[in-house]
Amino acid sequence: MKKIQLYLFIGLLTMLSATSCKKFLDVNKNPNDPISATPELMLPQSIVRTASLMVGLNDYGARLMGYEANAGGVSGWGSFVSYNYTTGDFASLFYNGFKANEDLQEVINLSRKDSTHNTFIAAAQILKAFNFQSLVDVYNDIPYTDALKGKGVLQPKYDKAEDIYKALADSLDVSMAILSANSTSSAFKSSDPLFKGDINQWIRFANTIKLRLILRANGKVQFSNTTFNSLGFLTTDAIVNPGYTKIDGKQNPTWTTWAYDAAGTPPTAASQRIPTPYILAFYNKTKIADTKRANLVFNKGLEVPTNQLGYQGDDAKKGPTPSAWFAGTDAKTYDNIGILKGPDMGQPIMLASESYFLQAQANLKGILGSVNDAKANFKAGVVASFNYLEKDNTGAIHTGNNPQADFDAYVAANIDNYLVNIDVATTNTEILEAIVTQEYIANNMIMGHQSWFEYLRTGYPMISGANNTSNKTGTFVSITSESTAPDKLPTRLLYPANEYSYNEKSIPTGINAFTSKIFWAK
């Protein structure tokens, strides 16, 4: 009997200590970070993240297209002026693009749980297609079908760029169908810093991306459906603004990069870049007279210092503070218009002007409407460019500006120039050149990458002559280019080093920055 009691006691003690031991050890609940999320919390951030991608993409194109060149007083430019890219150059474009898409994918995964989030799925898919197009346009073949699967696929295989283009157009069709079948909700409205939950705007946006895919594919992709949604295309700029404000980390990313940080310190790199004589020629009468937009775009308008890309002599012009694209005096006093409108300005991800110029090109190609529509769309595009630049930080046309009147004056000042006055263009070639050239001007330091892609596909704006110091306005090509290509330009970026480290088996081999072309390139 006594023994039994003892055993009971020991047993009880063991049980007690086992449970208290479990309690003692159950302390692994994260007090620092949440371990779950909702579509309402994920979508807004994903949209803002997508908007922030524009800064890096623009810089990539801007360096290549003569928007920005090395300023004097700084050396060590490396691939900036030689185009001799390494696997380290612009590696963040790859990472940031996939990161944004992973967040969008998470929106889709979380939204699948209930049907009230259909609009979230459609919006996330549209932005995913938008980002994937940028990635294909930069890198050609990339992981797509295997991508964004986390531990499901650790070494995602690379898909053919053409196949991705086709799949993206399909997913845009699906998204537009979902949006047409669903109405907006208050949750969607408050989670959408891009179109404030406006379903029709989302459809137009998706439709415009689809147009860009089909146009850019250059006839090299068999799309499943080449018709477009009847709501048409973007007529306004697609601008993301979650409430950017002059607080560290909450400023408009373009402003932070090219103007001032929240404390009011100018970023070092910004003042070390200045425009090229090539781009200035489209403002200072050398090619086109456009004082109005020069004043909107450049620090001190036509007086902005310029440097030919690659020129590193002692007398190379130095950049103004904070940058050549800042119109104002300091972090507190600025013009509120142009490219850098303020720390609270919205971040465009697609300009209305691009929508019109794409339509115009589609008109020429017979993808959309007829050739006759091209000129109207061209004019609308140029007006849209004035319109965007004359908007202030709140998104309204800044007092004392009138885009239409400015457009009319612009045409009047360049009445014989078919690049401006489309009515004097005589051939489709001239019309195409005018469209893409005006797209180039409209994208200046806003969507540099789109200009670069358009150049690779169309060859416009025209460059001529050798890349030497006596041909400053004839070409934007660096005078210290190391490219072996006939035009002395690179053709693409290399895949980032990280991919070579962790996914080498899947990467297409033989990629060369001077010879490997993006599939749609000329």
Binding site: V27, D33, R49, T87, I142, P193, Y244, N498
Partner: protein, 1053 residues
């Protein structure tokens, strides 16, 4: 044997003392930790009269009136001689004789064991061996003294950080630093830099996982078991006061060119007065303007030549360290006490850097009742750093200063218009004196380490110990940068457009604080039994820990931290979160980890020559998922002393002993930070915006079912001693593998994530440790001892995972860096190399002569040393002792990132290798214009330009990493000291009670020998700090290595 002797002595002496008349001498004899020594022999000097201590370590005997001194001896301890005090009462603590096999040392968990029974390699170091160079950080004193312990000072500054690695690195991403145990309390290794070296009694280094198996998760990297002093050694009140003053001087500056000054143009070389780059004309001694005219129109002119007197190499200050120590020790009837205090004040080699440290310690033993004993040790240390936070910019700016600039004459930036940032000559690099003054970092650290244990020994064969160990660190940091507004004049100068001179310094302030606390309570029960020739020892114990272990990688502790910062000061010079032009930012985090463990140890000894030990431990750790929480690991070891077992061996002349040993162990290590099992979300992209939150998914994927990593291995070796300890040697071979590592590997960002936490990877660590100590001369006046220890390391990455064969440990921009690669040594450096043909010749452009970089990365060599040799010398002549330690490390390479800035600026010696002329890239080829893929040896195509169009250019020079990889081999004279013990006769009649005095002079890091190609810095440095495994990279964060020279005076009362 020992038993017999004791018995014999007792029998012999009983008779004698019974008939003696005179006075009584009585007292206790214990070891240094206060444990009574049973059977110690006490003998009156000059007579046969003696006694032995009883079970409580007590003795009492009658001695003749005339007797003046006694000697106390016991096997395994150093024999001590003391004079008989007037009251006849003594309390003695005997010093362990580490040369003896029977010496008892403290090992894991405070357990005592004889060296004889140890089946694994361990090294025991006494205070004398550690502190004769009077180091401020005990880690530096360990260097070169233990085979297999690699001590690296990874940084410079007022209190450098050290990496202490035993037997090379095992864990790919986890902590590889040796466990530090201070008086039975596991402490973070940062304690080492805050420990008063004078408090240390001894350190036992347990090289392998075997000996440390009892420490659980943390012991797999071996352990340093530090025991501090308790009581006095001679049973009297002892007071020690000492002062050490030393000077720190920069030694081994990176090698600079002294021929060319400011300029940047290619082809047509010209002088630019405000340039930082040194691709200008050759020095000609003419008077030239430096900088641009300041606002009043005046200009600074200097001779255009290398300035030795005031130039950049004179920038570094002499650091001064002054440390004062006081300690009081006493031993009395029922216990002992040791109290000490130290104050240390130091200035660094970067002008303005200051550091101080104050410590107090109180240790003691107390017999509370006849069967109950208490041991306690308490330590409080505080340090204060006042350093510049711009060290790497300062280093960069100083080293890249053109040679003609009178650097040190430009220190007064507040008053001297040419030194003021407005008028400073350099348009690209700020005045380093201004940077040092304007960017400050103030750090406060308070440490408390305490332990208390009670031992109850109801019967002779059984004892039970309750122990509470505690350590906490409380830190706060303040980072300040004051406001500086450039003048309108400065901003208007066209040459300065786009430079720092048009960017106002708006001022920042960041403050943060954190604490970490670890508490461990344990209960140990120990029983022993003798059965015939066998002796059995059984120990069982349980631990409850809150935040156990090391904090090196943030794993395993209770901690919380918070930080806040502002950007843009309203009022200059006022550093407060309220004094801000912008809203402050703030963040905080908390961690808690707990573990429970049960462990046991069973020792069997046969006839005092064959020993076996097995241990087992089970841990339950909170950071793992409940189903994976529990893990068990055992160890076994065996030790055999043939010289004791076989009479024929024991009788070999001049052979003291020979011992063979072997061990096998398995140790688990949890390398998972708390809360890492679940993927997390966090606000991102600037969210929240006006009341709306926004999440991004964390960038890490986590594999389900993470488990602890397991290190398993064996070792074997022998110890031998001959000629009465004059020749001693030890040899150990070990081989371990570490599997199931918890790694955060990189993954393709196309997965949507950047890292993946999973259990993969296997490393192997094999090596040899050998030591030899020879004492050729040991006479009354002379003692000469030479010791050498050697370690060979073979640490390999066996596998990483099926999908991934390499792992970046740390990289510059995701490419160049330190990597773990399957099949390679761990770690290796990877970087770009020159494009080469199949014969390994550099391919150059047939027109420009310039080489180019490979697109991918290549392995540039192993980063961990292959061979390490430590040499120790001790020469004593009468009262004069000379001690020296030298070390060699070899077989590794290092990437000197700072080389790229020297090439960029043209300050480095390499840039004048061809006297700035055009030259043919050595061993180069160019492609045959007519036949693709065919290469022609290049004898004539020189590079297009030999100045700024080559050396600073990333494409052909600075971007090719192999240009900056050099051998990391070195020889170092680590420490040398000369000590003189003042003759006791000098103090004999002194009324102040001075018993003795010692004066010494010492130097540390006196000499470094580097291979010719290493024109950069100390290869022991690591840019990634002391806890990172990414070794092999140095950068500008580490200022030039310095040497320390100082003197000490010690007074004993």
């Amino acid at each position: 044997m020992r038993r017999f002797l004791t018995l014999f002595a007792v029998l012999m002496l009983f008779g004698v003392s019974a008939f003696s008349q005179g006075k009584t001498v009585s007292g206790t004899v214990s070891d240094k930790s206060g444990i009574p020594i049973i059977g110690a022999t006490i003998q009156v000097v000059g007579t046969n009269i003696g006694a032995t201590t009883n079970n409580e370590g007590y003795f009492s005997m009658n001695v003749p009136q005339a007797s003046s001194a006694i000697t106390v001896s016991n096997i395994g301890f150093v024999t001590q001689r003391i004079s008989i005090p007037s009251n006849g009462r003594v309390a003695l603590q005997l010093e362990t004789n580490t040369a003896s096999l029977d010496a008892v040392i403290v090992t894991a968990q405070g357990l005592k064991t004889s060296i004889k029974s140890q089946g694994v390699a361990q090294t025991h170091l006494t205070a004398d061996q550690l502190t004769n160079s009077h180091p401020t950080n005990i880690a530096s004193a360990l260097s070169g003294k233990v085979a297999g312990l690699q001590v690296s000072a990874v940084s410079s500054g007022v209190n450098p950080s050290y990496r202490l690695i035993l037997r090379g690195m095992r864990s790919l991403k986890g902590d590889n630093n040796a466990l530090v145990v201070l008086d039975n309390v596991i402490v973070p290794s940062s304690i080492l830099g805050n420990l008063n070296p004078a408090d240390i009694d001894n350190i036992t280094v347990l090289n392998g996982g075997n000996a440390a198996a009892l420490y659980g998760s943390d012991g797999s990297n071996g352990a340093l078991i530090i025991t501090t002093k308790k009581g006095s050694s001679d049973g009297k009140l002892n007071i020690n006061i000492s002062n050490t003053t030393s000077v720190e001087q920069v030694a081994n500056m990176p090698k600079m060119q002294k021929s060319f000054g400011s300029g940047t143009n290619t082809d047509i070389i010209s002088y630019t007065p405000y340039e930082n780059q040194q691709y200008g004309p050759r020095f000609d001694g003419s008077i030239r303007q430096i900088g641009l005219p300041i606002e009043d129109g005046s200009v600074l002119k200097v001779p255009y030549q290398w300035n030795d007197k005031y130039g950049k190499n004179q920038f570094w200050a002499d650091g001064l360290t002054n440390q004062t120590d006081i300690s009081i020790a006493n031993t009395y009837q029922n216990g002992s006490i040791f109290a000490s205090a130290q104050f240390l004040k130091a200035t660094g080699t970067v002008p303005g850097d200051k550091y101080n440290r104050a410590t107090v310690r109180l240790n003691g033993t107390q017999k509370l009742a006849s069967k109950l004993e208490m041991n306690y040790s308490t330590y409080y240390a505080q340090n204060r750093y006042d350093q510049t936070s711009a060290t790497s910019s300062i280093f960069n700016n100083v080293l890249n200063t053109p040679g003609q600039i009178p650097m040190t004459q430009l220190s007064g930036w507040k008053n001297d218009p040419f030194a003021n940032p407005n008028g400073f000559y350099n348009a690209y690099y700020e005045n380093p004196y201004f940077l040092a003054d304007n960017n400050r970092s103030l750090t406060r650290n308070d440490y408390f380490v305490g332990s208390l244990d009670f031992t109850y020994k109801p019967v002779k064969w059984f004892d039970i110990t309750y122990r509470m160990g505690f350590n906490t660190r409380n830190t706060s940091t303040d980072g300040t940068q004051d406001r500086f507004i450039y003048s309108d004049y400065t901003k208007s100068i066209p040459e300065q457009k786009g430079t720092y001179k048009v960017k106002d310094v708006l001022g920042t302030y960041a403050t943060g604080s954190s604490y970490t606390t670890n508490i461990v309570t344990s209960l140990l029960a120990h029983a022993q039994k003798r059965v015939n020739d066998f002796k059995f020892d059984l120990t069982g114990a349980g631990n409850l820990s809150q935040g156990p272990g090391k904090s090196n990688n943030g794993v395993g502790l209770t901690s919380a931290s918070s930080a806040a910062a502002i950007n843009g000061l309203v009022v200059p010079g006022l550093f407060n979160l309220g004094n801000s032009l912008n809203p402050p930012t703030a963040s905080n985090s908390k961690f808690l980890q707990r573990s429970v463990s049960l462990w046991g140890k069973f020792d069997v000894a046969y006839k005092n020559y064959l020993f076996a030990t097995i241990t087992g431990r089970n841990d339950w750790v909170s950071t793992l998922a409940p189903e994976n929480r529990s893990f068990f690991y055992p160890s076994a070891q065996i030790s055999f002393v043939p010289t004791d077992a076989f009479a024929v061996l024991g009788n070999i002349r001049n052979l003291d002993y020979f011992k063979v040993r072997g061990g096998w162990s398995k140790v688990g290590q949890v390398n998972i930070a708390p809360y890492s099992l679940d993927p997390t979300y966090g606000q991102s992209s600037g969210y929240p915006y006006s009341g709306q939150g926004g999440y991004s998914i964390g960038s890490q994927i986590v594999s389900p079912g993470l488990k602890p990593e397991i290190t398993q291995g064996y070792e074997g070796g022998f110890d031998v001693s001959a000629y009465k300890n004059r020749i001693r040697a030890a040899f150990t071979y070990y081989s371990t593998t570490t599997k199931n590592q918890t790694l955060s590997t990189g993954v393709s960002s196309a997965t949507g994530f950047t890292s993946y936490l999973l259990n993969v990877g296997e490393t192997s660590s094999k090596g040899i440790e050998a030591s030899l100590t020879v004492t050729p001369i040991r006479t009354d006046n002379w003692f000469i001892s030479i010791g050498a220890n050697y370690a060979y390391y073979d640490n390999k990455v066996v596998a990483i995972s099926a999908d991934i064969d390499k792992l970046a440990l740390a990289t510059y921009g995701g490419t160049t860096g330190s990597y773990a690669i399957a099949g390679q040594q761990f770690p290796v450096l990877m970087g770009t190399t020159h494009k080469r043909d199949s014969l390994g010749r550099i391919i150059v452009n047939p027109i420009t002569g310039y080489p180019s970089a490979t697109p991918g990365l290549s392995i540039l060599g192993r980063a961990g040393a292959k061979d390490e040799l430590g040499l120790n010398l001790e020469v004593t002549y009468k009262r004069l002792t000379l001690a020296a330690t030298a070390a060699y490390r070899g077989g590794a390479v290092i990437y000197n990132r700072l080389g790229t800035t020297f090439d960029f600026s043209g300050a480095g010696i390499n840039t004048v290798a061809y006297d700035r002329d055009r030259f043919v890239i050595p061993n180069s080829v160019y492609e045959d214009a007519n036949e693709k893929g065919k290469y022609i040896e290049n004898k004539s195509i020189t590079i297009r330009e030999g100045g700024s169009a080559y050396w600073p250019q990333a494409t052909f020079r600075t971007g090719i990493d192999e240009n900056y990889v050099t051998s990391a081999d070195f020889w170092k004279l680590r420490e040398i000291s000369l000590t003189y013990d003042l003759p006791a006769t000098w103090f004999k009649n002194g009324k102040i009670g001075l018993k003795g005095a010692t004066i010494s002079a010492q130097g540390r890091n006196l000499l470094i020998l580097l291979p010719k190609t290493n024109v950069y810095t100390d290869p022991e440095y690591s840019a990634t700090g002391s806890s990172s495994n990414a070794i092999g990279l140095t950068d500008l964060g580490q200022t030039p290595p310095s040497r320390y020279i100082g003197g000490t005076i010690t007074l004993k009362f």
